[in-house]
Amino acid sequence: MSETRDIDMSVRIGGLTLRNPVMPASGTFAEGLESVIDFNRLGAMVTKTITRELRAGNPLPRVVEQPGGMINAIGIPSKGVPYFIERTLPCYTPYDTPLVVSISAPTAEGFASLAAELSIPGVAAIEANISCPNIEEDGKAFAMRAESTENVTRHLRAATNLPLWMKLTPNTGDMPEVARAAEAAGADAVVVANTILSMAIDLKTFKPCLGNIMGGLSGPAVKPIVLRHVFQCARAVGIPVIGCGGISCADDAAEYLLAGASAVQVGTATFVKPAVMVDIIDGLATFCQRRDIPRVADLIGATVIEEADEPDVSWLSPAS
């Protein structure tokens, strides 16, 4: 489609320039998708989270469908670092697309040493998954609190020169504060967000639908909530925000950019429409074209807020 050729689709995330703002969300992308889409079309590639420890993952069932989404409790199965370097990494080196490696560890020191070990050629950035609801008991994660986020980010920053993205959780009271903590400790970007802690119960058996009891909600159902988080975080920090939650079409992606995201990650939608990321890239170009917007980056944070539109929160005060 020659009509899409004129739009400058590139975006900058810290020191990294991406050919377009669309990339997969961690845990929803692997070599297998190469049978459906050309990875050279993507803005970046993001691996499933890996850990140093060998992990089996959670008991089955690991997913349950919901209206407009799904809850997962996969639990970060990991074959460790040597396997990743020898077997997984070479799958992506043939592509001319930056590879972002998602990591997790039980401690700040563990995060740092893993990031150091993975700061190798072929890895373009580190995404620290400090927000997985499925590994700690009761869905706990570093990114639920600003102090632990600041601490783990500081350790990571000292351990690697690669661009450092901190993936945050919506399962906290004050995401902007957590995002500010990540920025203060040297993060290059924040990813907003991981899944929303949730659960479902089977009415035939009275048992939880997931082997792990609780899991993370993703898909279109979470989009309005996460979009709001992106809007708030983008106002709170100066570093780029990467939006992630329920994006299933170009309009969703455009909405995220307008809310302040500099790029977007697409997860669950790929399970339903495996080529959706390519559709979104083409659709974003068309979106800009139709509106005479020369650069997709012009959309970032371009939500029009008129003074009267400023949220009125006075009704929240106890007096009202």
């Binding site: 689709m9 459906v36 050279n40 079309r41 089996a56 993952g57 043939p94 790929t270 399970f271």
Partner: protein
């Protein structure tokens, strides 16, 4: 757009170094999601329905043991099934470009499938997974199936016939009227032995007796099975005793169907070591001796 038949790059990235150029220029999808056109969708017995759909070239390349992920329509009065539903290939015709599935109406997705009429569109994604491998030096194979396994094994009949391999199919069901694939196997020259719960012939002891006879007659160079872990156990024991190879198609709840999400994992015994594999990507067909019930 739900049809992704041609994904040739449209906004080319800055030209990569010359050495890399070639491979990427020729990238082509081997798995497609496309809108197939329903040709027929009718009940074939009290449990199973037969769905036939016209499809594109890639889908029509599906091989026995592979599967598709179907985006099921919304059933009347029900919600929209969010995830795709895995469905074993029941039949494929590369010339007519046609795929066939057999399904039992069990949940939201299959209740949606039931509503499809001739001419309707159905979003199918495939072909997926590792199918059965028919070894050329096999003279005669045995296919043992039950439940949905009867559908999964069915495409073997035509494939084996095309390679001049003899087939004996042992097909198991609760009652004779619930058996499927019997005529299909016979049509492709297979011998069919039916066993049922209602006739008390489907127990593992009887199936073992039948299999021992086939082995003794030199008519079992390999086992192919799907749909019953009890019958799989019988075949594993016999395979060990007589040093015979085998393949099993496994089932598991799936989400993505292409190895991304790790939701459909199962444990396998690989030379004494327990290894976790993805049914959708590493399978659904696995070495019989590595499978665990």
């Amino acid at each position: 757009m739900a049809v992704h038949r041609d994904l040739s790059p449209e906004t080319p990235p800055p030209p990569p170094p010359a050495e890399e150029d070639d491979s990427h220029a020729r990238w082509k999808a081997s798995v497609v999601s496309e809108l197939a056109r329903v040709v027929d969708n009718r009940a074939i017995n009290a449990e199973y329905r037969h769905l036939v759909a016209d499809c594109g070239e890639e889908s029509a390349q599906a091989r026995p043991g592979q599967f598709f992920q179907l985006l099921c329509p919304q059933p009347p009065g029900g919600g929209q099934p969010f995830l795709r539903r895995p469905m074993s290939l029941y039949g494929v015709d590369p010339e007519k470009r046609r795929v066939e599935f057999l399904y039992k109406v069990a949940g939201l997705g299959t209740r949606g499938l039931e509503t499809l009429r001739a001419g309707d569109r159905l979003d199918i994604m495939g072909p997926l997974g590792q199918g059965f491998r028919l070894n050329a030096d096999c003279r005669h194979i045995v296919a043992v199936g039950r439940g949905a396994g009867l559908a999964t094994l069915a495409p073997l009949a035509k494939a084996a016939e095309a390679r001049g391999i003899g087939v004996t199919a042992i097909l198991s069901a609760r009652r004779p009227d619930l058996l499927v694939s019997v005529e299909l196997f016979r049509h492709h020259g297979a011998e069919v032995i039916t066993v049922t719960d209602s006739q008390s012939t489907s127990g593992p002891a009887n199936v073992e007796r039948l299999l021992r006879r086939l082995i003794a007659e030199g008519r079992c160079d390999a086992f192919f099975t799907c749909g019953s872990s009890r019958l799989m156990g019988v075949q594993q024991r016999l395979a060990r005793e007589f040093d015979l190879p085998g393949q099993v198609a496994m089932e598991q709840q799936m989400a993505c169907g292409i190895g991304l999400c790790h939701c459909c994992v199962r444990d396998f015994n690989v030379n004494g070591e327990i290894v976790s594999r993805r049914v959708c990507w590493d399978g659904p067909v696995f070495d019989l001796m590595e499978a665990l019930p």
